[in-house]
Assembly symmetry: D2
C-alpha cells in the first residue's frame, strides 16, 4: 500500500494539521519511485482564508507600530492608510495584484475586499482570471517549493511555488468551461468587450460566491487586465477568435473607463500588491489627475535594479503618479504573510 | 554662480569621469535651495554601452566557472548556453526584458542582440518603446537613487532608479513625434496593426541606428508587447483613438505570430531578463511546442513569494514550458551588472 | 517656533498615533535648516511590544496555513514547530538573533521568550548587550530609513535603520554605567568571566525587568556572545583592560558550556532569527550531537550568494547540524514583521 | 557500471567544460539509488581564480559607468574608489569578508589582494581560516544548490551553497594538521596569541603560496577574527585547550592592534564584502578616528530589515563610522559575480 507522502502538510504526529516538512529530500525519491501515485501527492486542498475583523490582530499591529522598528512599523503605517482609504467615501480606491496569490488562500482576502466594496477598481493580470475561475470548478493543492519538477511534469501536475495545480484543475477545465461561455456571449451579440466587461460576464456565469470575479460583477467593480492574452483565459479568447474572426477585445474602452474614473475622483488611493503591469497601470493613470492621495505598496522586489516593481512609492512622486503630500508607505515582504494580518487589523477595532 | 551639484557623476578630483557620490545628503538641501537649477542636475547624459566581443572577458568568465562557487558559476553556465543559442541556426531565440534597462546604457547591449540577429523575436513591455523612441530624440541623464523626489517633481524631472528623465525627454517629445507617425500610418491605410507591426513602423520612422526598434524593423525581428497600453506609447495610441475610433490594435495577430513561430521552430531558446508579462508570455507560448530547449533567466526576484518573476526556470518544467532536458540556468542579480559581461564573453573567444 | 518634523510618526490628523510619512523629502531640508533642533527629531520613543497569547492571531495563522501558499504556509508550519519546542520538557531550545531587533519593540518579544523560560540558551552578538543595557537607562526613538545621515551626524544622532539613537542613549550612557559595574566585578574577585557569566552580572546589576539580560540572569539562561568585542560593551571591556591587564574574557568556558548543553540534551531545537555568527554557532554546536531535532529559521538573506546567512535549514542536514528527520522550516521575511505574530499565535489557542 | 552524474559541471556535449545542469531533478533519484557512489558526485574540483589586470574588462566597466543605470554604474564607481585606495600610499586599507567565498574560486581574488599588498589588514570569520587551510591539503568540489541534503549527509559530503566539501576535506584534515601545529606553537612557548598572531603562524606552517594566510604572514598583513571560536579552527583551539588549560586567545591584543592601526592612519579605506561581524568590526574601529575616507561595500542584504548587514554605507555616516565626505558606494549583488570583474578592472588600464 502506498504510504502517505511526507512533507506535504499531511498530519504528522503531534504537529497537528499544518504538518511541517520532514526529510524533504526523501520526497524526491518517493516521487520517482514506482509506488508514487498522484493521489499521494494531491492530498491537501488549498482553502481560501476567511478574513474577519480582529481586535486582537489590530492590537498586535498597533504594538508593532509603537515598537518603531523596521518593517513592523511600516505594517502599522500601512494599516492606518488602509483604514483611511476604506472609510472615506470620497476616495476612489484601486487594488492591484499579480495572479500568483489567487492560487492560494489569499484569494479569500482579495475577494473580501471586492465583496465588501472596500475597493472600487481592480487592475491585475490574466492569471487572476485563470485561477479564480479554475478554482470555482476544481481544487488546487498544497505542495512544496522543492518538489521534483520533472517528476511533477510526468504526473501532469503544475507547480506554482508551493502550490500544486493538476492539469485537470487548470487548462483542461478552463477549456471546457470557458468556450461555452464565449459562445453564449457571442450568441447574445457581444463582439468586442473591454476586459472588464468580459471578466464580469465570465464571473457572473460562474454563479459562485467563491469567485472574486463573481463579486466584481455583482458589485459592479471593474477588473481591468492590460495584458489580457497572457494566460489561459487569454488563450481561450485567442482560440475562440480562430473561429470568430470578428471577435475582439477592446482595450481602448478599458482605458477610457480608467480615464473617467481618475478624472471624476475627488481623491484616489491604491493598495498595490506586487509590481509589474498591474502596479504600473494603476499609478500610470493616476498621474493624469495629479497623483494618488493614498498608497500602500507591498513588494518583495529590490529597489537597486531600477525596475518599476522595485521602485518605492516615493519614486512615483517625481513622476506625478503619487502626490507630494500623499500618505504612502512601501512595505517589504511577501503579501501572503503580511496582507491577511493587515486586512484583519484594518477592519478590527483595537481594545484600548 | 551655481556650483556643480556633487554626487551626480560630475568629475571629481582624481576619481575621473565616473565620480562616486560625496556627501550625498548635501544634495537634497542644494536641490531645495533657491540656487538650484535644472542645469546643475542634468549634467551627464546616459550613453549606450557599445558592446564588443572580448577574449579577456571570456577568459575571466571561464575562470569564474572553474571557481565553482555561487553566482559566478551560473554566469559561466549562462554564457555557454547563450553561445549555443546564438550559434545554432535551428534555434529560434526569444529575448524578453522589461523596460527599465532601456533607460540605461544596457539599451546598447539589447540593441546589439537585435542588430546582430542573435535573437529572433522580442517580447517586452510598452516602456521599451517609450524609452527607445524618446532617447532617439532627447537625452536621459545620470542621477541617484536617493535624490529628493519632491524637489525633482517641482523641476519636472522624473526619476527612474538612478536615471533622470526630464519631461521634455519623455511625454512631451513622445507626444510631439508619435502623433504625426500615427496620422501617417492612418493615412497610408493602416487600421488595426498588431503590436509588432506598429512597433516596426514606429522604429522605421525614427531612421535611427540608435534605436532597437529601427533594427527590429530592419532585420524583420518581431517585437511583441502584450500590455501595449501600459505606458507612454500606449497612451499616444489611446489619444489617437479618441479621434479615430476605427483604429485598433490587433493583438490576436501577435498571438498568431507567436503561435506560428513556436510551431515551426525545430528548437527554441530564450534569454529572459526580469520577470513579469515579458517572461511569462515567452514561456507561455513555448509550452505549446513542448517547452524551451535552452533558457537563461536573469532575475532579482526571490522565489519564496511564489511569483512568476521569482520562479526559477525549473518550475517551468512542471508546466511543460521548459523541456525536462533543457539546458537552463537561473542567474540571480541585476542584469545591468551581469548582462554586458555575459554578452561580451559569449561573443568573445577565450585565449587558451 | 519650530514646527514638528513630519514623517517621523508624530500624530497627523486622522491617521492616529502611527502617523505615516508625509512628504518625506521635505524632511531633509528641514533637518539642514537653521531651525532644525534635535528635540523636533526625537519625539517618539521606541516602546517594547508586550506580547500576549492570542487566540485570534492563532486562528489567523491557522487559516494562513490552510491557504497553502508561499510564506503564509511556512509561518503556520513555523508556529507548529515553536509550539512543539516550547511544550516539550525534553527539548533544549536555542534562541539566536542579531542585535538590530533589540533596538526596536521586538526586544519585548525576545525578552518574553527568556522571561517565560521558553528558551534555554541564547546565542547573539555584542550589540544585543549594547541595546538591551542602553535602553534600560535611555530611550531610543522612531526615525525613518531615508533621513539625512550627514544632518543626523551633526546632531549626534545615530541611525539604525528607521530607529534613532542619540549619542546620549548609547556610547555615553554605556561608558558611564558599565565601567563602575566592571570595577565592582573586579573588586569582587572576578578575573576571567565567560561571556555568559559577564552578561548575567551586567543584567543583574541593571535591576530592571525591562532587560532581557536581567531575565537571563534571573532564570539562569546563558547568553553567549562569540564575538564579544564587536560593539560598545566589548569596547568597554577593552577600555577596562587597559588599566587591568589581568582581566580576560574566557570564551573557552562558553564553548565548554555549549558542549555540555548539547551533549546532555535529549532533544534540541532552535529558533534562529537572522544569520551570521549567532546562527552559525547555534548549528555548529548542534552538529556534535547529531543535529537539531527542531528548527525554525527566519531570514531575509538570499540563498544564491552561498552565505551561511542565506543557507536554508536543509543545507545544515548535509553537515549533520540538523537531523535528517528534523521538523524544520525556513521562513523568508523580516522578523520584526513576522515574529510577533508567530509568538502570539504559538502561545495562543485557536477557537475552533 | 555507474554512469556519470549529470548536472554537476561534468563536460556535456557541445556545452564545453562549464556544463550547465540538465534534468537536475533526476539527480536526486540517482543520488539515492544503490548505484550512487561518492566518486560520481565529486568529479570537478574548485579552482581558484587567477586574477590579472585586464584592459578589456576595465573598458567594459567604464562603459557600464557611462551607461548610468542601476548597479552597472555603481560597479564603475566602486572600481574608481578601489583604484584610489590601492594607489594611495597614505591610505590604510581594510578588507572584510565572510568565509563562504573562501570555499570558491574567489579565494584566488582575495588572496591576490593580500599577495599584492593592496590591503593592509583583513577582518573576517573563523571559516576563512577553515577553508583556506583545508584547501591547501584537500580539494573542494563543484556541486549544485539543489542537491539532496539527506543523500549528501549519508555520503559524508557537506554542501556549502553549490560547493561540495567531503568530510575528508574539512574536519578530518583540519584535525590532523592543526593539532600538531598547535603543539608546535605551544612547545615554542606560545601561550596566549592574538587571533592575527595565531593565523600568521598557521599560515606560515602551511608553506603554501595557495594560502591567503601564508601570504598574510609573508607580507605581515594582520588577519583578525573577532569570533575565533565559531568554526573548525576554533574547535581545534578548544580541543587543544582541553589538554592545555593555560592556553588562551588574547583578543584584547587584536583590539589593541586595530586601535593602533586606525589611530596612526592618515587615511583609511575599506573594501567590505558581505556583512556580519567582519563588516561591523571594520567600521566600528574606524569610528574612533572619525570614519572611513573611502568605502566600497558589496552586499546581498536588504536595507529594510534594519540589520547591520543590510545597512548601506551612508548609514555609517550618522555613526561617524564613515566620513561625511567619504567617497563611498554600496553595490548590491553577489561578490562571486562582481568582485572578479571589479578587481580585474581596477588593476587594468582601459585603452582609450
Amino acid at each position: 500500500m502506498a504510504r502517505p507522502v511526507r512533507g506535504l502538510g499531511a498530519p504528522e504526529g503531534d504537529l497537528g494539521p499544518i504538518g511541517p516538512r520532514r526529510g524533504h529530500s526523501l520526497l524526491s525519491s518517493r516521487l520517482n519511485s514506482a509506488r508514487m501515485a498522484k493521489r499521494d501527492l494531491l492530498r491537501r486542498k488549498v482553502e481560501d482564508i476567511d478574513i474577519s475583523p480582529s481586535s486582537e490582530v489590530a492590537r498586535l499591529v498597533e504594538a508593532m507600530g509603537r515598537g518603531g522598528g523596521f518593517t513592523a512599523k511600516k505594517i502599522a503605517v500601512g494599516v492606518e492608510i488602509l483604514r483611511t482609504m476604506f472609510r472615506r467615501p470620497a476616495c476612489t480606491t484601486f487594488l492591484s495584484f499579480p495572479a500568483a496569490l489567487m492560487a492560494t488562500g489569499v484569494r479569500g482576502v482579495l475577494r473580501a475586499l471586492v465583496e465588501e466594496r472596500l475597493v472600487d477598481v481592480v487592475v491585475t493580470t490574466c492569471g487572476t482570471a485563470d485561477h479564480d475561475l479554475a478554482r470555482v470548478w476544481q481544487p488546487y493543492y498544497h505542495g512544496d517549493f522543492e518538489l521534483d519538477d520533472v517528476a511533477l511534469h510526468r504526473l501532469g501536475v503544475n507547480r506554482l511555488g508551493n502550490v500544486l495545480i493538476p492539469n485537470a484543475s487548470y487548462g483542461i477545465v478552463l477549456e471546457k468551461k470557458i468556450q461555452p461561455m464565449l459562445r453564449n456571449l457571442w450568441d447574445s451579440g457581444v463582439r468586442a468587450p473591454s476586459t472588464s466587461e468580459l471578466l464580469w460576464e465570465l464571473g457572473r456565469r460562474t454563479g459562485s460566491r467563491q469567485s472574486l470575479l463573481w463579486w466584481a460583477w455583482k458589485n459592479r467593480i471593474p477588473v481591468i487586465v492590460p495584458a489580457m492574452f497572457d494566460g489561459a483565459v487569454g488563450y481561450q479568447l485567442w482560440s475562440f477568435w480562430q473561429g470568430h474572426k470578428e471577435f475582439a477585445i477592446d482595450q481602448f474602452r478599458d482605458e477610457a473607463d480608467l480615464a473617467e474614473l481618475v478624472f471624476k475622483a475627488k481623491e484616489t488611493g491604491a493598495l498595490m500588491i506586487g509590481g509589474g503591469v498591474s502596479k504600473h497601470h494603476t499609478i500610470w493613470w493616476n498621474q493624469f489627475r495629479g497623483g494618488l492621495d493614498h498608497a500602500v505598496y507591498i513588494t518583495t522586489a529590490p529597489e537597486w535594479d531600477g525596475s518599476l516593481s522595485g521602485a518605492r512609492v516615493r519614486e512615483g512622486i517625481s513622476w506625478g503618479k503619487v502626490k507630494e503630500t500623499a500618505k504612502q508607505v512601501t512595505i517589504e515582504g511577501d503579501a501572503s504573510a503580511i496582507l491577511p494580518m493587515m486586512v484583519a487589523a484594518a477592519l478590527g477595532r483595537p481594545h484600548r
